[in-house]
């Protein structure tokens, strides 16, 4: 029987137009997709995410939740924008999606038992904003080819994968 893969398995970053800008797998023995499949996966996920963000059974009640009735005034505040798909779990993996305020999506694939995915996601976002956004040679919306980002990401993921 094949050894069970543990920890963080893969990271995919999708830009706000649905294009794949970064993908990386961690650990050996994972099935590899070809580049075209990755692009299709990113585009499809982007579409599905947009649909899930529109699925909202409480649309009519959204504004009422933010109405203050104690003073008689009605204050309409803007409701939180729907976040769309956040977590998807299957038998073999767990997918966590983090959508930044600028519309970039980070998809972290982990095994189903992985704890503290939020923390890992936060750190990945930190690394992205440090080593990609502060790099003078990175062009927005384009594929990420930053050596320091690769290096820091690899060492961080190795650290959390080895700690289990």
């Amino acid at each position: 029987m094949e050894k069970l893969r543990l920890g963080v398995l893969a990271l995919i970053v999708i830009n706000k137009a649905g294009g794949l800008i970064y993908n990386r797998t961690f650990g050996e023995g994972l099935n590899q997709l070809n580049t075209n499949d990755y692009l299709v996966l990113a585009g499809t996920f982007h579409g599905v995410h947009a649909i899930t963000a529109r699925l909202n059974p409480f649309k009519g009640q959204q504004y009422q939740q933010h109405t203050l009735s104690s003073t008689g005034e009605t204050i309409l505040s803007r409701p939180e924008p729907p976040s769309g798909l956040e977590v998807m779990e299957s038998e073999n993996f767990r997918l966590q999606c983090f959508n930044t305020l600028t519309g970039i999506k980070f998809l972290l694939f982990t095994d189903t038992m992985q704890a503290n995915v939020d923390v890992a996601m936060r750190k990945v976002y930190d690394l992205y904003s440090d080593y990609v956004m502060k790099n003078p040679f990175y062009q927005l919306e384009m594929p990420v080819r930053c050596e320091t980002f690769d290096r820091k990401l690899n060492s961080y993921i190795r650290e959390i994968n080895n700690s289990r």
Partner: protein, 224 residues
């Protein structure tokens, strides 16, 4: 400093600027008076990223880009030399008079002021044919912390900006020199002093090449 007074009004006072009683002027401490007197690393990183992309507009070659970064750093070095010497205690306020003193000043004082730590190494070129070359080594230059150089520009090292600052200090101290920045982190032998290359992928050597007249003067000084 703004209350300059004509000296004839008061007979006792010295003519010229008045100094605070403790002898400290605004030049003696940073304008930023917070405890650590440090600046935000993130804002510097963004500023530096803009400086690099500004310098890389319409360039002919990588050398062109490095030259522009060098030129941006040069005036900082010139002014920094004056400022840092002024902050020294009065006894040691003279500018460095020989190459070793100058390089030590750069390695310790300038680096401490700019980056909060001394440089990681100072070496003389081991090649006997090049006695005018010295190397200042930084394992991880602050300016390069967030910079990933694309593969097609692999000779580029953005620490050319720091090289410009060093060049400014040397020029200001009347030791005209050419300073260039070179990445050595990726070399197999791990650079000049044999440190593991794996550990410091951003290791940078600042090659200081003094002008012939400096070497000539240094030769006379050594004899006398």
């Amino acid at each position: 400093m703004s209350n300059m007074q004509p000296s004839k009004g008061s007979g006792k006072e010295q003519p010229g600027l008045r100094y605070p009683t403790n002898g400290k002027t605004i030049y003696h401490r940073p304008l930023n008076r917070t405890k650590t007197a440090e600046l935000s690393g993130a804002s510097f990183a963004y500023l530096f990223a803009e400086m690099v992309s500004y310098a890389s507009k319409r360039i002919e070659s990588i050398q062109d880009l490095e030259k522009r970064l060098n030129v941006q750093g040069h005036p900082i070095g010139l002014k920094l030399l004056d400022l840092l010497l002024y902050r020294e205690p009065a006894r040691s306020q003279t500018r460095p008079l020989n190459i070793i003193a100058l390089l030590h000043f750069i390695k310790l004082n300038v680096w401490q002021h700019l980056f909060g730590a001394a440089a990681d190494g100072l070496e003389k070129s081991s090649d006997p044919a090049k006695p005018d070359e010295y190397m200042i080594i930084d394992n991880e230059p602050l300016v390069n912390r967030y910079v990933s150089v694309p593969r097609d520009m692999s000779q580029l090292n953005c620490a050319a900006y720091v090289a410009g600052i060093i060049e400014g200090v040397c020029d200001g101290a009347a030791f005209p020199a050419r300073v260039t920045a070179h990445s050595v982190g990726r070399q197999e032998d791990g650079g000049a002093s044999g440190a593991p290359a794996e550990m410091w992928p951003g290791r940078t050597v600042f090659l200081v090449k003094f002008a012939p007249e400096v070497m000539e003067r240094e030769g006379y000084l050594g004899k006398g």
